[in-house]
Symmetry: C2
Subunit: 306 residues, 2 copies
């Protein structure tokens, strides 16, 4: 195989009560990537369509992730990457993670899969480090593994794939305002009360139980974030209204996608997820804020060959 | 039915990373209770063998729990309770919870089960309130439901039963020193860093995943308490040594049972659990501290009729 075409999915990190540990993978939102073997050692990025991103591999998340992988091998082959960028950087649905995950997945396939998916996660995390300063895994893990993932630990890295209930759909609305990851971090409280921690533990435990037992009511009751949403949501215009209308038309629950500004809802079944998208859209239609809305099944496989 | 004989099990609250939310039920450690219908309204406690506990129902956890249940009914029957108290109060394995859970379970049976198990948990919590000042559920829930339980929320009360892996055994060692629940609370930090909270969330998520998927390695990796054990363990002599020897002979992990002083270990299979008990015992044999040791399968049903 000399060339591979991929769908590199968008992802939702945090998932309400799972701050910094949970993530999930979307199915119909993502980038297209073409990766081709070349005869020159190293990585080139010959084309990026859709976003003004750097072609220099050392300054591009896909390039950095690819280089982290190739550093582990003694080979003379190189790789060229082309990206059709459908995910907007800064949207909070894992734009950098999609590119990093797609690059390492594709190169690994073209090389006959010398690395495990868990090793690929570590390479892709190097791309995240370039993008945000932190080698976090809560977007690259679901992008590569699919479904819901838990970062049990960073030291050592320990990623667990959680069961995905069959009828679970995500709706994501992206109000096109800019929130820098650094700003989204700075509004967080650095000290949490023991009581708030216990509430968060209860809800995370409930959500994970609900995912395994496919108990949609329990998932719904557990989608409550005690420690981050109250502060970060202030940065997102109309957040409270979006949450209210989504719940009103049947969403199981809502949350901030990653560090925002995208807001997600989870629903049982595609029809409710679409209705939720329409209700959320109406909120921003009454403002001057542009927005995108996506409705997607949870993608249980991650990056796909197309 | 005029009389019922019960086994009221001991329980382990917190279970390492599940501070204030997780609990599990033991199978071979517990009290025996006999509950009998009487013709006089109200509750009497005619006998307690094994411990010097008050017979006045208003001052006894079993009595208070029973009275909370009867308050909901308009009946002329009363109940007499007799207890063979095998669980030592102050041991940290749910002595008060066993009595409260047994009392409400037995009376409910004699009345033809007018209440659900979840309602019984609320009555039993009134007993806990008498014992410790707080109506906590992390011992009474596993005592009544069996297996592993999660307190997802107190407001409203929402208790989830978690899957119990078939080969999971608990070893509990009770060094006979006194730690008051109030002291065990006062050593806790009231503010937790965001970083510590995230580590705890990762481990709780990992433990719950491991329980559902019966992944003993994952359970083992997740049995780490970031927020309570470092402080509370200081109150338990030889804690670090007990933990080390347990792990050395094959325990999946260890933790403080409830607010201590009992220390528990979880193991895969009865043989390892017994070896862990012997290793833990040797630690206290080299001291002047008296101790009890228990090895038990996880009890998946809770209070039992005998």
């Amino acid at each position: 195989m000399e060339e591979i075409k991929l769908f590199a999915p968008a992802t939702i990190a945090n998932v309400s009560c799972g701050f910094d540990v949970l993530g999930l993978c979307l199915d119909t939102v993502g980038d297209e990537m073409t990766i081709r073997k070349t005869t020159t050692k190293g990585v080139t990025i010959s084309k990026i369509i859709g976003q003004p991103l750097p072609l220099d591999p050392a300054k591009n998340v896909a390039g950095v992730a690819a280089l982290a992988l190739l550093k582990q091998l003694d080979i003379n082959t190189g790789f060229d990457i082309q990206i059709i960028k459908n995910i907007k950087p800064g949207s909070g649905i894992g734009s950098s993670a999609a590119s990093a995950a797609g690059a390492v997945f594709g190169i690994n396939k073209l090389l006959g899969t010398p690395f495990s998916i868990h090793e690929l996660i570590e390479f892709a995390m190097e791309g995240e480090k370039l993008a945000s300063g932190t080698a976090h895994a809560d977007n690259v893990a679901p992008a590569l593994l699919g479904g819901f993932t838990l970062v049990r630990s960073y030291d050592p890295l320990d990623i667990i794939k959680i069961n995905t209930p069959k009828e679970l759909y995500a709706t994501v609305i992206h109000p096109q305002i800019e929130i820098k990851t650094s700003d989204a971090r700075s509004v967080l409280k650095q000290k949490i009360s023991l009581k708030e921690t216990v509430i968060q533990l209860g809800n995370l435990g409930g959500l994970i139980s609900g995912l395994y037992t496919e108990d949609y009511d329990l998932i719904s009751r557990s989608l409550h974030d005690e420690i981050v949403e109250p502060y970060r949501s202030i940065l997102i215009p109309e957040f409270d209204t979006v949450r209210e209308v989504a719940k009103k038309v049947g969403a199981l629950g809502t949350g901030i996608s990653g560090s925002g500004p995208s807001v997600f809802a989870l629903s049982k079944g595609k029809e409710i997820a679409k209705t939720v998208g329409e209700a959320m859209s109406k909120v921003y239609q009454n403002t001057t804020i542009d927005f995108d809305v996506h409705v997607s099944k949870i993608n249980s496989t991650g990056v796909k060959i197309i």
